[in-house]
Symmetry: C2
């Protein structure tokens, strides 16, 4: 029971949680079961109210409280490194409440932030001033989670118009064809809608594509589109987690 233990707040959505765990394993050099990190995934989707509705002012129930309870449970079960594969839930109005609960449970847990992980990856592959095409939920874009971080780091965010942002949102969360309703496999309609959005961003001029919603890489799995390299925030987070937990086993890029 020595060494670190990664705790994942799952269920936001369930398949995005699985995708992060898979990318942790995929980022590990391993010939035997025992070479892999200790990982816990707690996927309690029914406990956690919807995030966009809170951020967009449609409900007063802050999902940060329920997320904080999941984090506290992971800490009690032995996690010393925690992450959450949901970009929208990293909005400070949600995350600060969750981390406050976590700190009350245990002040020594390291939280690895998906936006920072994605930004580190953008820095690795792009020059200062590069144009970064951004895809995410409407709530993530409205709260400027990525825009502020990118601008602060000297990059230029490129964002679709409102109608196209809503198209991306529908590809993620539509009750019938959205990724949250059909993840395994994703519907061709959702994938097509996302690819059209990528094409629009490419037309606006971008040097890097940033997939800033953990549902999107369930549909867009390639490492580049139209010759433009893609940064998958989930994969960037997975690599930071392996680096924090078992750095000597992190795979080469």
């Amino acid at each position: 029971m020595d060494g670190h233990c990664i705790g994942i707040v799952g269920g936001l959505g369930p398949y995005a949680g699985l995708d992060l765990v898979r990318k942790i394993f995929d980022s590990t050099r391993a010939a035997h079961d025992q070479d892999h990190a200790r990982v816990m995934l707690h996927s309690f989707p029914g406990d956690i109210p919807v995030r966009p509705e809170f951020l967009l002012g449609l409900t007063d129930v802050n999902p940060g409280h329920a997320i904080g309870e999941v984090m506290a449970g992971l800490a009690r079960a032995g996690a010393d490194i925690i992450a959450m594969p949901c970009n929208t839930a990293h909005s400070p109005r949600i995350l600060d409440v969750a981390l406050e609960r976590l700190r009350a449970e245990n002040g020594h847990i390291r939280f690895i932030h998906i936006i920072e992980a994605a930004l580190s990856q953008v820095r690795r592959i792009a020059q200062p001033g590069a144009r970064v095409g951004l895809m995410g939920t409407v709530a993530t874009l409205r709260t400027r989670l990525y825009q502020d971080a990118l601008e602060h780091a000297g990059f230029t965010p490129v964002i679709l118009d409102d109608g196209s942002c809503q198209t991306v949102q529908d590809a993620i969360s539509h009750d019938e064809y959205g990724i949250k309703a059909a993840s395994s496999p994703v519907t061709p309609r959702a994938r097509h809608m996302l690819l059209r959005a990528v094409e629009q961003l490419a037309g606006m001029g971008m040097d890097v594509l940033l997939l800033g919603c953990t549902e999107i890489p369930l549909a867009l799995t390639e490492s580049a589109y139209f010759g433009i390299p893609a940064v998958d925030a989930t994969r960037a987070l997975a690599r930071e987690l392996v680096q924090a937990c078992i750095p000597d086993r992190l795979t080469q890029e």
Copy 2:
């Protein structure tokens, strides 16, 4: 926080744990995140000694003790239904020790047994007396886990000769090309070796193919081979878990 919570003993191997969680989600009718079951996966591969070596008498360290600790941790974290996606570890010499530890922690946890889940699925699709081609680790076959259960249920197990069983074992656990060393994706060599074994079993005459090792369905993902239906023990277990947790949301077969 109402309702059941499924706890999965992961890490045996890590990708097999993920595969079970994925098949739980895939077996759930869901349009929203919140429609999915509460699931915990605790993947602590480094804590759990290798299973075949113990069953084949190469070590005295019974992995059941470490598995029992993982089960007890899942129970403390709130699981009331527990399962373990590793057929070999269901050998009574290992499982009995693990369940004794779990019962000491909490006597009210329901354990869902992968061999029983697979057997229920065989019963659903095959007539009494049917010939069931069996693929698994050498240790699973030597301990007659499936053979005894199948014969007791009135089926005839069909087993490869020792050389071919070793080939299947190598496809699972070889340091370079085995599924445990390369799961994502599986190597063509491992898949080819398993397909050749299936072909041999088909040549011996079988009505059903039973994939009795949780690594095998990472390589053999089809529902039938040479026109013979395949029972994937991991998928059978996933369906039993959804049935136990949120029966009204179990998908149609």
